[in-house]
Symmetry: C2
Subunit: 359 residues, 2 copies
DNA sequence: AGCGATATTGACAGCGCTATCACACGGTTG
DNA sequence: CAACCGTGTGATAGCGCTGTCAATATCGCT
């Protein structure tokens, strides 16, 4: 035999329907689309539901309707606060909507990502947001088979699974290096941590720029697989100084590293930018507050999350998504740490000069 | 009539059972607890499932079993990176388990929190992790009625809903101020942003300490409802300097603020710690890298997340939870920015001296 | 060999909701 | 006035899985 007794206190659609004097299916309609129910019944159902404290059962709904309102989000790290901005955009966009977010952490592993993808797909998500373009072939296939809208975020690539929003890390870094070259820097170091695919592409941009300028020197590149941190910035910079004491600028693949470099320069009494210019990447909030203020490449992380979420919702709800591949661009925010003409290093904080090229 | 045709490609338990030559319920058992199925069938089912590409339907499972494996997590902010450490602990603990996490953002609003709680409860979560002790009465009632394990994190309070893990913000701040007093500071400012309940309690600790020392002066307190940021640290410090130019130390309710204060001191050529000592709160990574290294109150955020998650799992799975209220304590990490006897401010970074009182 | 105890397996009846079709009703239209 | 339409409502039959209990197979022991 199946279940024995029904708990007395349990409130289902049926109970609400009985109290309101309508059929269960009408109550179901009321909750999904109130307009399709006549005004009189609408009121009766509403008060009946409130009286009984009815709460819809999502599992039953998902089973009967063969779909859910869960959006899966896969990001590589919870520590790297680049992603907290993206997440904030995503959460803000879904705020108040009927969708809920399931977040998972791939820890920068494509295998982990594939496993999580598989896990998500068990829930028949309404949509998926994944980071980057380096999914495994199997992962891509899985997602494509699931046929729900998918947005790849953070960067752009040649073959979108479905939709895509990001910017070119190669170009962004190229622009940052070009800015340093324009300031007259010639021996520009590259510091990178973690070396995930996006940092790799920034390194590529650095190499392109340096080679084009005929200034490439592999000794100027110092990287580590260890995650980024301020302390690591100081360490990598120390390594760089050992290898190439003649550097006149440092590009850091993350702002954390740039802050660490700044502190290490203070410790070594190296004048920034006079002796060494510093440029970071991401334009975190603290960059504008540092002394000297630190140049960085602004990336539109919040907007990226917001728009990715909007694209998903539009697609799920059948609205046309204009532009399924969106380039959000970036902007080199030139500040004191890389502006050699100016030397008022200890003056008051100055407003961002978004004078850099907007891409 | 109900549904018409079954999609031909669809794979259910039944299809796997047919191919493996067993009953559907045996396949169900295999997926939930392989050990209860004999070895022979186990192999047949395993290969049948793989051949057919079977993927369990979680909605059906949830409906039939009347429970889910979703853990709801409510945090007030995605921006404040205090929470990213807690989250990392939570995600790490659930990693590889059968539970999945549903994360929501209350934006420091108890009403929003109540709404989200209601939303979560529709899914009959296996457990709930909520931030702080200031839920609405209705929110508490809802959660208690849901009867799933609940852990309140981040702080301690008199009436736990169920389980609780955190530390006393009042005591932590009291200890930090005591440290400054021990260093000979007398005019100690308090800077606070956002002023959420936990920052309020830190302020309380500050007041207690200052009053006990007979040094309390309301003009030394500068706060804002605006969220914390490095720039805001500089601004608040500037305000404080206007109000009380004779301060000899600043306690910052967040490390971001402390970093901003440090930069503002650099801008104003104020020597730290000789002229003004700085103490932060949370001991973020960059505090140990700054010049001078910045004193802070270490809070065990990662461990808090990890243990909260473990407590939930233990409780769900019927293991006894030893200590349903856990005080994780804190530690004042004394660094250069508040150590007045020592003045080697620009020497190499030194290892953390966890010489502070451990609570 | 015979017994109860234990491990495996299966049959059945739902879990609470929604897709689908059917139908009643009032208002048009030719 | 019949044929037609659109709107609101209801009856029915599942969605794919698991809780419960019963049945059978296997085992250790006297």
């Amino acid at each position: 035999m199946g279940r024995k007794h029904i708990k007395p206190g349990k409130v289902r659609l049926t109970e609400v329907a009985a109290l309101a004097g309508v059929s269960p299916i009408t109550v179901s309609r009321f909750f999904r689309n109130p307009d399709t129910v006549s005004a009189g019944r609408r009121l009766r159902i509403e008060s009946a539901a409130k009286d009984l404290g009815y709460v819809p059962n999502l599992a039953a709904r998902a089973l009967a309707s063969q779909r859910t309102e869960v959006i899966g989000v896969l990001i590589p790290s919870l520590t790297n606060n680049v992603f907290s901005d993206v997440l904030r955009g995503i959460y803000d966009a879904f705020e108040g909507s009927r969708y809920s977010i399931q977040l998972a952490n791939t820890r920068y592993s494509v295998l982990q990502e594939e496993r999580l993808l598989r896990l998500f797909l068990m829930q028949k998500p309404a949509g998926l947001i994944v980071t980057g373009v380096d999914q495994t072939a199997e992962g891509r296939a899985l997602v494509q088979a699931a046929d729900c809208p998918v947005v790849q975020i953070m960067e752009l690539g040649p073959e979108p699974i479905d939709m895509m929003i990001g910017f070119s890390h190669v170009d962004a870094c190229y622009a940052a290096i070009s800015h340093l070259l324009a300031q007259g820097c010639r021996r520009i170091g590259f510091l990178g941590a973690r070396m995930d695919p996006r940092v790799q592409r920034r390194l590529q941009g650095y190499q392109n720029a340096m080679k084009n300028a005929g200034l490439f020197d592999p000794r100027l590149i110092v990287t580590t697989a260890v995650p980024t941190s301020t302390t690591m910035g100081g360490n990598l910079f120390s390594d760089l100084m050992l290898r190439a004491p003649d550097i006149d600028a440092v590009f850091c693949a993350n702002d954390d590293l740039a802050l660490g470099v700044l502190f290490e320069c203070q410790r070594r009494h190296i004048a920034v930018p006079e002796q060494i210019a510093i440029v970071g990447f991401n334009d975190m909030e603290f960059m504008a507050a540092a002394v000297p203020t630190l140049t960085s490449v602004r990336t539109n992380r919040y907007e990226m999350g917001l728009r990715a979420a909007t694209m998903i919702m539009d697609d799920v709800e059948g609205r046309p998504v204009t532009g399924r591949v969106v380039d959000l661009g970036f902007e080199v925010i030139e500040r004191q740490s890389s502006t050699l003409q100016r030397a008022a290093l200890t003056g008051p904080v100055q407003a961002d000069r978004a004078s850099g090229t907007k891409w």
